[in-house]
Symmetry: C2
Subunit: 336 residues, 2 copies
């Protein structure tokens, strides 16, 4: 089998120099239209695709983007970050980039767990999805590898996240529209900035309309944002007297846990208790009753992060904007 065609083959076939082929393939420089056509036709006919290695070597760019994710985030059954990755991968494809996915354990030991591409400098930039150990981010910074955070925030590094505030506000508005005045909040994972934003916007909006949420009805569990935590901490809200008539949970997992706890206590949803979540995970629509929640477009999160990074890399933009929001959307189902 003849080995794959090179730039010289294309040059020869289209009777131009390899420089010209290079210009055409990269859409650069002033090339006569006829020449361009001829080159493209030849490339197509020969099935030519530039060698990544050669390109990388000559241009000092790898064309690779790293995608870092905490291992437990990746293997969890809720495919949140999976979708963020999918969005990033999609956008990368559009831009002719490759994505190297690397998971890191938590806790993270910089000496042993550093993604290979980091030490080998085989990526042009990195997307970091979700919370990771700050050490990793410091490593990136130390090696001056550009990075964009998705669904996380650290220092003043560029980040793209869901519009948590507008989502939190939407829930409050919805509760009020349904006639609720005595509402509560259930959160977890105090480290992560998103829940805090959701909470603050929610509490703020409730206060604005004259129904401030008493401190006793604002619960932030000191554990992971999962269903179990939701169920275990539900009592702090449900077993009080008086009890709120509606609860906003920082995410769907907690909300599903709260629903479990409510059902155990024989509470009717949404009549005795209205519940809203955040994320719109797969399980939200399947819950009994189906969960009212704020939808995050997970793919868009990844797409946007990768897009920003890529633009920053090519210099298309001077500086990556420090904070980019992806819109959220209230999805009203039966639970509230």
């Amino acid at each position: 089998m003849a080995s794959r065609p090179t730039i010289s083959d294309v040059a020869e076939a289209s009777r131009v120099s390899i420089s010209t082929v290079s210009l055409v393939m990269n859409g650069k420089g002033p090339v006569a239209d006829a020449t361009r056509q001829r080159v493209l036709a030849a490339a197509d006919r020969l099935g030519y695709a530039p060698s990544r290695s050669a390109r990388g070597l000559a241009a000092r760019r790898t064309g690779n983007i790293g995608f870092v994710l905490r291992e437990d985030h990746f293997r969890q059954s809720e495919p949140f970050y999976t979708r963020v990755f999918l969005g990033a991968e999609f956008e990368a494809r559009r831009r002719g980039l490759y994505v190297l996915l690397s998971t890191v354990p938590d806790p993270y030991d910089p000496a042993r767990h550093a993604p290979r591409f980091l030490t080998e400098h085989s990526v042009d930039g990195v997307v970091v999805a979700g919370g990771v150990d700050a050490t990793l981010l410091e490593q990136l910074r130390a090696r001056s590898i550009p990075f964009v955070l998705a669904d996380y925030a650290w220092d003043d590094s560029p980040t793209v996240s869901a519009d948590n505030r507008s989502g939190g506000r939407a829930v409050a508005d919805h509760f009020v529209a349904q006639g609720h005045t005595r509402v509560g909040y259930l959160g977890a994972d105090p480290e992560h900035p998103s829940p805090a934003e959701r909470r603050d916007a929610y509490l703020g909006a409730m206060a604005e309309v004259g129904h401030p949420v008493p401190d006793g009805w604002v619960v932030t569990a000191d554990g992971p944002s999962d269903r179990q935590t939701g169920a275990l901490n539900a009592g702090l809200l449900l077993d009080r007297a008086p009890r709120p008539t509606a609860v906003f949970c920082a995410n769907d997992a907690l909300a599903l846990g709260l629903l479990d706890a409510a059902s155990e206590r024989g509470l009717a949803i949404p009549d005795d208790l209205a519940v809203a979540g955040f994320d719109d995970v797969d399980g939200a629509a399947l819950a009994k009753p189906p969960l009212t929640t704020v939808r995050i477009h997970k793919e868009t999160l990844g797409e946007t992060a990768l897009g920003l990074l890529a633009e920053g890399l090519t210099g298309a933009v001077e500086e990556i904007p420090p904070r980019t929001l992806v819109p959220t959307e209230l999805v009203v189902r039966a639970s509230a």
Copy 2:
């Protein structure tokens, strides 16, 4: 910032030629031990890591492995293939390879959906996880890109899969040990070879011990292997008279669906009905009652596939073995 060190820097620092550095870095050739030490020390001191691009260009190997997965398999909430990927990524890391994950839609259009690395020849080989459109496999073959299938089979391509037969047999043995003689089978996804292997081994083992399973108790639904299918088709087994006292399901999703259906019918598990699944998904241990099942080591599946591929690539092995089995293990819980 000074740019990263190159092989010449290391050569200079250790007072040898770049050829020698190359030999040392690749663990090749006869190099005096003292020299080796000196080179390694210098490399370490300078923070030298070989450039992937240069290496790839010179050696005509990319050091990249493609990992192909159907999109719906990747985004499904059960992180089965996610773990297979994790295993592959882990093994790749050990071997100094990168994994390029690419999802493909189903149905697959070879012209529009072909993973980029396929047309760009930027991988040395490919791991294909789970079922994909045969067109893709034909493309790989046509371009003579070596590949290994994980949890799938096609033609006589090398494949690594769970030991379905021994798992199926283990379930039969367990049922018999529990005193069951009238047992059934629930499967789905007739296309995929694994369920068929599980079924045949199971039915064979039952027949061997003198309790053949009547055809009427062998149900293979013509849909996806999911919980809903399990619940919907459960009636074909549960609403018959007489009814089997134990049912083996081709996977956990179906088994969980069957449990749902059984609970709706007021059947006590495992007294009225014993149920066993296959896979040992996260949800199996959490089911009510916890599901007896056959565990597949998903990471091992990915590790093995990538390992075999890598060995084949380096020529460490003459030919990749056509069929490699990863052991399975019966996990007895409360449902059977």
